[in-house]
């Protein structure tokens, strides 16, 4: 999986070493663990907090 993080960043032009990729992978997994069971709470069709107001910009 850290190879995936490595590839993902490299594909976006971000220089990353394999050691960094492992660290980034760990951090990403920690963030992912924060959304455990989220699908039970958030419905696919729930609205988002960003709206676009024509003539005024985004809020």
């Amino acid at each position: 999986m850290s190879k995936n993080v490595y590839d993902l960043l490299i594909s976006q032009g971000i220089e990353v070493t394999t050691e960094e990729a492992i660290l980034l992978q760990t951090q990403w997994e920690q963030i992912q663990s924060l959304k455990k069971d989220l699908e039970e709470v958030i419905q696919d069709t729930d609205d988002i907090a960003l709206t676009h107001v024509p003539g005024r910009g985004s809020v």
């Binding site: 993080v5 993902l8 960043l9 976006q12 032009g13 971000i14 220089e15 990353v16 960094e20 660290l23 980034l24 951090q27 990403w28 920690q30 963030i31 924060l34 959304k35 989220l38 709470v41 958030i42 729930d46 609205d47 988002i48 907090a49 960003l50 005024r56 910009g57 985004s58 809020v59």
Partner: protein, 474 residues
């Protein structure tokens, strides 16, 4: 020149200036004297603008002597976080990459303060690009907490927290994306107010995360926070996130009367994973407010379970976009922690980002529902007191936890929802300041200010000062 003027507040100094009993030059000299005396050890300043400050001060003095009094901030010396643009002046964002950046315009808050006659004394240290909580800055050196020089002043507005606590500025402005006004205010023993998102223009403030960033006052007292907010608030066509809602005279709401008001307590998130001494002090604070006539009601906000996820995905994604180009061409010019923070931001997908926004909306609805029943929510500002410089973890209840995740835990909901929140000193644990956070409904800053004021008037925590004399002798 006496240092005694520097320890005063805006509310104390303004009438003396207006009545010509003291001069802006005397106050500015007093503040500069303290800054030169203590800052070599605290390192709250990236730049001290002595010559310019005295020029501003003499100009203010002349105007006032000529009968032109611009208002309550006229002649008051302030130093601001070095992330706010001053036209044709260097602004660094605490970074190497922008070390010589010179914007061609003033931030809206800066132009408002200039118009009000503020004397600017310098630019304050911060976590690089506001992307962190320690102000352990690799390019300008670590800023230190005046209460214990081995400890962090918090961040990212650590220089503002330390400078206000050490009376090296009468007050300051900070920015807050996950708690960067309230957290340093709490651990430095001062008042920090994050207004509602949209209340204060962010135009001319280098962004960390567009939808989470806020600018607000960091002050010695609640009254000064009310004064400063009144001066910087307002709709700004240059900032599409500002909202055109009325601004009130916040000071006039500081009655201290909270009789019959309802305090909401959410225990599952806000009183979980907190140091026992901190929890005890905040609970004592709530009891004091009850003794003043407020009632307490227990509330539930289920989606708080996902607030950290929502914040991390949003702030990482937005900040990585902001720094995308520099991260590609000169990644090693960022500090190591910021470089890694920004690189993580390239991992979330668009779907992850939008899911984070769904959580935000759900949270906003749940908070709105709660504020139909209660006037404010009260929480600890931080789960622990100021950690030591270099610490990357904290121990809470015997458990080792990441500093970054833990220390912002209670302030992050205010950013994700945009709701106004204030940190007010509520005591000391092992000689280090502890803050109590008061959160209110959108655009009801006057409500949280009055709760904070009621608490402050019944205590004297803000009157206690770090022992800076020891700094000089050691």
């Amino acid at each position: 020149m006496s240092e005694q003027l520097a320890i005063k507040t805006i509310a104390q100094l303004a009438p003396l200036i207006q009545q010509r009993e003291i001069s802006p030059v005397e106050i500015t000299q007093s503040v500069l004297e303290r800054t030169k005396k203590y800052d070599p050890k605290i390192n709250a300043f990236i730049e001290i603008c002595e010559e310019q400050a005295l020029t501003f001060a003499y100009k203010a003095e002349k105007e006032i002597m000529d009968g032109i009094y611009r208002g309550i901030l006229h002649g008051i010396p302030l130093a601001l976080k070095d992330i706010l643009y001053f036209k044709n002046e260097r602004v660094t964002m605490g970074s190497k990459i922008h070390k010589e950046y010179t914007p061609s315009y003033d931030a809206t808050v800066v132009s408002k303060l200039k118009e009000a006659g503020v004397v600017f004394t310098g630019k304050l240290n911060m976590h690089e690009y506001a992307a962190g909580v320690t102000t352990n800055n690799p390019h300008f050196g670590p800023c230190r907490n005046p209460w214990d020089l081995e400890r962090i002043p918090g961040g990212s507005s650590g220089g503002s927290g330390a400078a206000v606590a050490a009376d090296m500025t009468i007050a300051s402005l900070g920015t807050d994306t996950g708690g960067s006004i309230r957290m340093p205010s709490a651990v430095c023993g001062i008042v920090g107010l994050k207004p509602t998102h949209g209340r204060v223009s962010k135009y001319g403030c280098f962004p960390l995360s567009w939808t989470l960033d806020h600018i607000g006052p960091m002050t010695k007292t609640v009254e000064d926070a009310a004064i400063l907010l009144r001066e910087i608030a307002g709709f700004d066509a240059n900032d599409p996130t500002t909202v055109n809602v009325p601004i009130v005279d916040y000071s006039s709401f500081l009655t201290g009367n909270i009789k019959g008001k309802v305090i909401g307590i959410e225990e599952d998130y806000f009183f979980n994973e907190v140091d026992l001494n901190v929890k005890k002090l905040v609970n004592e604070g709530i009891k004091q407010l009850e003794s003043l006539g407020a009632k307490v009601e227990i509330v539930k906000i289920p989606s708080l379970k996902y607030v950290l996820y929502s914040e991390f995905i949003t702030s990482l994604s937005e900040s990585s976009k902001i720094h995308q180009e520099n991260l590609r061409i000169r990644p090693k010019d960022f500090g190591t922690d910021v470089e890694m923070f920004l690189k993580v931001g390239f991992i979330p997908s668009a779907v992850d980002y939008l899911q984070a926004q769904q959580i935000r909306r759900k949270l906003m609805k749940e908070f709105e529902e709660v504020f139909r029943k209660v006037d404010v929510l009260i929480t600890p500002s931080t789960p622990v007191v100021a950690p030591k410089i270099g610490d990357e973890t904290v121990v809470i209840g015997g458990q080792v936890r990441s500093l970054l995740d833990s220390i912002m835990k209670y302030t992050i909901p205010g950013n994700v929802t945009g709701l106004p929140s204030i940190s007010v000193p509520c005591g000391f644990s092992s000689g280090l300041p502890v803050g109590m956070q008061i959160i209110g409904p959108a655009f009801k800053e006057e409500t949280i200010l009055n709760f904070a004021y009621a608490f402050e008037q019944n205590n004297n925590f803000q009157g206690k000062k770090p022992n800076l004399g020891e700094l000089i002798s050691n």
